[in-house]
Amino acid sequence: MATEESKANVKRVQVKRFKPEEYPEKHYLNQETGLWAWLTTVDHKKIGLMYLMSVAFFFFIGGMLALLIRTELLTPARTFMDADVYNQVFTLHGAIMIFFFLIPSVPAALGNFILPLQLGAKDVAFPRLNLASFYIYVIGALFTITAIFTGGVDTGWTFYTPYSATTGGSVMMMTMGVFILGFSSILTGLNFIVTIHKLRSPGITWNRLPLNLWGLYATSIIQILATPVLAITLLLLTMERALGIGIFDPALGGDPVLYQHFFWFYSHPAVYIMIVPGFGIISEVISTFSRKVIFGYWAIALSSLAIAFIGFLVWGHHMFTAGQSSLASMVFSFLTFLVGIPTGIKIFNWLATMYRGSIDMKTPMLYAMVFLFLFTIGGFTGIMLGALSVDVHLHDTYYVVAHFHYVMMGGMVMAFLAGLHYWWPKMFGRMYSEFWAKLSCGLVFIGFNMTFLPQFIMGAQGMPRRYFNYIDQFQSFHQFSTLGAYVMGVAFFIMAGYLFHSLRKGKRAAANPWGSRALEWQTSSPAPLHNFEHTPVIINGPYDYHKPMSEFQLGIATPHNDHHADENVSHTESEKEQV
């Protein structure tokens, strides 16, 4: 906008319609080719894809570890692994799934790809920093993988002291790996905040910002504020082991409950880092596939911020039996219930969006509906755990394990899959088989419920978590749960199959296969290298389905800093169109 004002006279530019090119020959995937081009790219789309491949890889590893856990639990005591191996396997499953898959999955993989496109920007604010944050992620991953092979870690992903300060194994290597990884998360959040504030296309006011970006914005704020606290906690833990500084170890004069406060101060907001981007995706998908304006735009936008804020005040609900004061427990319980309200509002708003819509049951929409169901269960069981007296009974049992898998997997992973299937044509210019995709979705749904519903019952009956051995009354539940895990495994293999097939042989995608009004669909599939060949101009909200598609394809042709210098820029003497 400054360009227009820096000259003494007003510059007139003509706003015209730019229809996206269908089936483009040149796009971001085939311009800049070769391994070196990928490894040194500053293109947010390619960085997003590199993250996508990484998180998919870690999801696979984490998933394999889950199958190992469930297989071992087919019988009490040893089935095929020893207790100390089992303890390392569940530690690794948790750490990998949380730090290397869930936290980066939407922001770094899908978010990096889509955010500039949805803003009409050419890239994020700091593209080189973006690449750096990817490499920081890789280095953090290498440290963690090294930890596995040099002694392993058996502390649980929560690293509670004094056990973590005194046990053998490569705890320091893993805490350092996660410490390094935290910077990747922080820098991604930083990049997103600045991009959303400074790089919006003309006409994208805050009330026309896609809800996906409100979600990423709220997530980025949490990442900025919470991750540094994890960093200092892990640094202190590492120093505890290396130098014996004694802040957390009672044998050295420290307080192990203080560790828990520090750890959960990050790790509770972390779960909102994991879910809030998912909320953003669901808004996009439900509106697009209902072809209807989103119900309650500001309620959804502001509820993400409310969740981000209140989410920082509830960490003590992980510690009701740990030894904090009753007053603290009371306050934490109260705030925990409060944070459920904005979440509930979102669910109702999404349902209201479907009401009297024109619903097309494509795969992304199916995943969004699965999300609504599974996440609601996760949310209600969170209410159960927030109730003080009931939590005394359920804390540290399989009820908690079931709850967090329902919100993280039934919620976040389903939202991630919805987003993946939604933006797949934009990323790769290909469609996938609806039949196999829906079949896989159905199997995931069935397998997921088979795995985790019994765990609510087990937990209510007292089955503790992180148990290698268990008493006989739980065996049939464990076996049914394991069967479900294998069904899920099959579903994901099918998913990998049809997605890889799509890359090679999938039907070529149109620029806007879903008929969405959002800005990313007003450019070709796959996206061009610089996202748009013009500066988009926005005059409507992204969910205004009552407006014609042509009104979403407006823009100004501008030369950008020596790129496309031969482009036609038409300046007219007539009034600049008021937009």
Binding site: A2, P116, D123, L190, P228, V229, I245, G246, I247, L258
Partner: protein
């Protein structure tokens, strides 16, 4: 920010995804501010640990603080405040396109930062000599409190982490001198100086909190 003619000549610093130099400058500043917020949270954890232990063991803090040399701590405070002044002057020089002044002010800032580190070195060396070491290596008998090692663990973590940030700041300023000498920086583009200055001010502010909290307890 400056006259149009300067923009016309030196647009080479503007990256392809920004519309113009102003947008890039604003974005960079916002980015640095957001980063500084993360630094505050990072140190915040240590301040929280400090507060918790001080609430539990107020006597310990009173006694242990006497082992810290208030005089040299105060000197260091003045040194850092001075360096904040000189880095601000460096930014001013850049704004006025006085590249020689920019380099001089950067050199003075680096000098003051190094002075800070040297004084810190002597403080640490003295402590190591009498057995005040971090964590389980603590062997000093001079404080009659069983948790003395915890005070000093917190002391070393806070001042150590701060010291690392000072070293990083020195590195950044050396890099700025190199850039300035290559004539990359001018009144139309001095963003690196501005954001390094912001970083340096935070490093100073953190010390301004550390000094009274650690040295001035009585």
């Amino acid at each position: 920010m400056s006259e149009p003619s300067v923009i016309e000549e030196n647009k080479s610093h503007v990256l392809h995804h920004f519309i113009d130099s102003d947008q890039q400058f604003e974005a960079s500043k916002l980015g640095m501010w957001v980063f500084l917020v993360t630094e505050i949270l990072f140190f915040g954890g240590l301040f929280a640990a400090y507060i918790v232990y001080r609430a539990w063991y107020p006597d310990l803090y009173l006694q242990a603080s006497e082992e810290l040399n208030t005089f040299w701590g105060a000197v260091n405070t003045a040194v850092l405040i001075g360096s904040s002044l000189t880095v601000a002057m460096a930014i001013r020089s850049a704004q006025l396109n006085q590249i020689k002044g920019l380099i001089t002010n950067l050199y003075i800032t680096i000098g003051l930062a190094l002075t800070f580190m040297v004084i810190k070195y002597f403080e640490y060396a003295h402590k190591f000599e009498i057995g005040i070491l971090p964590g389980s290596y603590y062997s000093y008998e001079g404080i009659a409190h069983e948790k003395a090692n915890i005070f000093f663990s917190i002391y070393y973590m806070m001042t150590g982490l701060h010291g690392i940030h000072v070293l990083i700041g020195i590195g950044l300023m050396i890099w700025l001198v190199v850039k300035a000498k290559k004539n990359v920086l001018h009144s139309g583009y001095y963003t690196p100086v501005e954001i390094t200055g912001l970083y340096w001010h935070l490093v100073d502010v953190i010390w301004i909190f550390l000094f009274p909290l650690l040295y001035l307890i009585d």
